[in-house]
Assembly symmetry: C2
């Protein structure tokens, strides 16, 4: 068997920054390295061309009656800047105090390697294991997976399987694992307001026209009620009630509000309906302004009435809100509320559906849940208890991984998401790292899950 | 007598951009050129050092019983960029079709030359004219005259005079002259809101904290009532009613709303209390947002909750609003209305008082109006009728020239403001120009005013 830490290091040495067109060589390198590794494990490897970065698609076939697990991962990484904040160069992986440092060590090269290594061990011990496995490793996760839906459309027949196994979410600590049961969806939208055709002198013309910043602020302000709810007709109509077991799990996690407030640097939270911040970010939809701009932004004053102003809005959605419906509701409200003295342009952005999977044995577990998925959850629960010494938490996350909902919608696949990194892993930040203790434990857990699926 | 057009050209050839520290040579050159010109007319010339650019102070003394006119002007100009939009180089003055083109031809080198040439003619014909004249020519007008108040404090004893004569305002056309009777004051203020201590991921943390952009939009929105009035307690308390003769003058001017809307590129005006836009900008105070910013402003989306957001606010004030009082009212309201989940920083900017002078013979002319000022207004009225063929308009302007109120407050001086340029003069813009017909007529008018003051 290969050394999994060395294997992660090899992947990290390729700067595979999907947003950076000069990273083509690193992208190609990491794909080839992964392909060689999987071919060495007996997989048939295809590089599937897409409009942007190819998808690595590797299969271990077998009897159609065998269970079929899809393992998802991504080989692209975030940019590494600001470089001066790194303690060691981002693309020269280095082990210090039980952590492997480098860009992509956690997100997602190390977390993906958990499952590659587990597959390696399983097949080393059981070369004829009755299990079909497909690796689906994309190169555009960090830029919103623009090619993924088109790829799924073409490959969905080859993805007829039982469930998706992946590690691209977080756990509370290296000693405790979260199985992520839900993700929020997303709707992005840009708003641009135009008033006068050019910037005007605010002395000569002040008080005569509707200032685009004023119109924009009024619009933004209208999107909330005084008690902090989102003020859009029908916005909450499709929100599923939260299940009791979800609230119990959150309570079991026992997060401290004070610590979270310190981390954020705020004195007070601002959550809807007096829910705790931890419940708010998991169970409630949100609407945030991501950026605003218009007029003079430099030092001192320049007394203009700007011609234009803009704001960038994104909503996070919860099951069963529909992104396209929410985009429509938001667009209509903005049009209706915009003052008639200015013109409004709405530029719709990307959308992604929310996702929820209910583990087996809960009061609301679907009656028709795939038995293989149920077996995987059960195996994961036992393996985590066994390897980490405590049961996993079953919790939704506030973030969005739209491809998870796409896999459900287009290929009927639910996902088992094992968090193999933590807040201290510095995802997308300098000194990204992989906790090697958690990494090795994760391999054992993944191997146990796969073994259980294979009936070994 | 010198050729006044050639004299303007000579001044224009010096690039005297007060905001540009590399323009030191041009600033020095134009001061020397003006000093030589005034010394040639018999003036005693001083260059008064200030923290930034010296003030040219030139005096023609005489019997303390003689009337004393202060002529104000400025020798600095705006930057010339974008250079590619100029039809001839900005600092190589060129006459085309009766206009002199170049940066500063109108603002303020040409307009100032109207009065220098008039003084020259007067003294050529009447070397012993019983009139004292002081030229006060500053070099910081285009950057807000930061040194002017300090200069006035030191020189106010030498400015004991009857009134200020200047041309730094506009007229409706080269054939019609406005005598500006009022200017709006100004209060600038920057607002900065801080929420979390760093930008946050809007998935991981969305719905938990008060978004600084949301807080800022709420604050900005709160500053207006639904009918467009400024929603600050006491804001309108000190606003003087507009005099009937002012409304009559505005009606006489006969501006067309449709043309103004076309010029601005708007379909609808937005003026308080249903006043016409022309009344709004002259007679009403205004509050404008000059710039707003926060979070991600680039292409596409970056789903952050920004740590900070800011807005730049300026109010234009009318008599008798007090800028410091308004700044206080605005500051207190912002503090009171700011959501408690975020922190607020207010950075006060520059202030300037509004100004109003009532010509003689109006129902509300002050009983104690200086007889020399009254004579000057009366002479100006006759001279303009005589030279331009129609009576001047007596109108307030929407813009601010804070030094005019400073001269009133600190030296007790009212101002007679003759508009020697028009909207077509392209002030602060490419292809700035001086209408030579208006220029020559202006010299005649100024000479007649000075003659009348001297009793000639």
């Amino acid at each position: 068997m290969f050394d999994p830490v060395e294997a992660v290091k090899e992947l990290v040495r390729f700067p595979s920054i999907s947003t950076d067109s000069s990273s083509e060589e690193g992208m190609e390198g990491v794909r080839q390295s992964l392909g060689t590794l999987l071919a060495g494990l007996g997989f048939e490897v295809e590089m599937v061309e897409t409009p942007l970065h190819p998808v690595l698609f590797a299969t271990r076939g077998g009897d159609p009656d065998w269970p079929h697990v899809i393992i998802y991962g991504h080989y692209d990484v975030q940019p590494a800047d600001p470089l001066e904040l790194w303690c060691s160069p981002p693309f020269e992986p280095e082990v210090r105090d039980g952590y492997l440092f480098g860009r992509g060590t956690a997100d997602n090269k190390g977390s993906l390697m958990v499952h590659i290594a587990a597959v390696g061990r399983l097949l080393e011990k059981n070369p004829d294991a009755p299990i079909r496995i497909t690796f689906l490793i994309e190169g555009e996760e960090e830029i919103g997976s623009p090619s993924f839906e088109g790829f799924l459309e073409r490959y969905k027949d080859r993805l007829e399987g039982d469930f998706v196994l992946l590690s691209d979410t977080q756990s509370p600590s290296p000693e405790e694992v979260t199985i992520t049961t839900g993700l929020r969806g997303i709707v992005c939208l840009d708003v641009e307001i135009t008033g006068p055709k050019m910037d005007l002198h605010s002395g000569v013309h002040g008080g005569v026209v509707m200032n685009p910043i004023q119109a924009l602020c009024g619009l933004c302000h209208s999107l909330f009620t005084p008690d902090g709810r989102i003020n859009l007709p029908g916005f909450y109509d499709d929100v599923l009630p939260v299940f009791d077991w979800e609230r119990d799990e959150l309570e079991r996690l026992g997060l401290a509000e004070e610590e979270y407030a310190d981390f954020l640097g705020v004195d007070k939270f601002h959550s809807p309906e007096d829910s705790s911040p931890f419940a708010a970010l998991r169970f409630h939809p949100s609407l945030e302004f991501n950026g605003i701009g218009g007029g003079y932004q430099g030092e001192g004053s320049k007394t203009v009435i700007p011609s234009k102003a803009f704001v960038k809005i994104s909503c996070r959605l919860v099951p069963d809100q529909n992104p396209l419906k929410i985009q429509e509701i938001l667009t209509e409200a903005l049009k209706e509320r915009c003052p008639t003295e200015v013109s409004l342009k709405i530029i719709p952005g990307h959308c992604g559906a929310p996702y929820l999977v209910v583990p087996p044995g809960k009061p609301n577990t679907p009656a028709d849940q795939s038995p293989v998925l149920a077996r995987a959850f059960s195996a994961a629960d036992h393996a985590i208890m066994n390897v980490f010494g405590s049961s996993p938490y079953y919790l939704r996350e506030g973030g969005s991984i739209p491809i998870i909902a796409d896999l459900k919608r287009m290929a009927g696949l639910d996902s088992l998401m094992l968090g193999m990194c933590t807040q201290e892993s510095n995802l997308h930040a300098p000194n990204e790292n992989l906790h090697l203790g958690m990494f090795h434990k994760g391999i054992s857990v993944s191997e146990k899950i796969l073994s259980a699926i294979a009936g070994l």
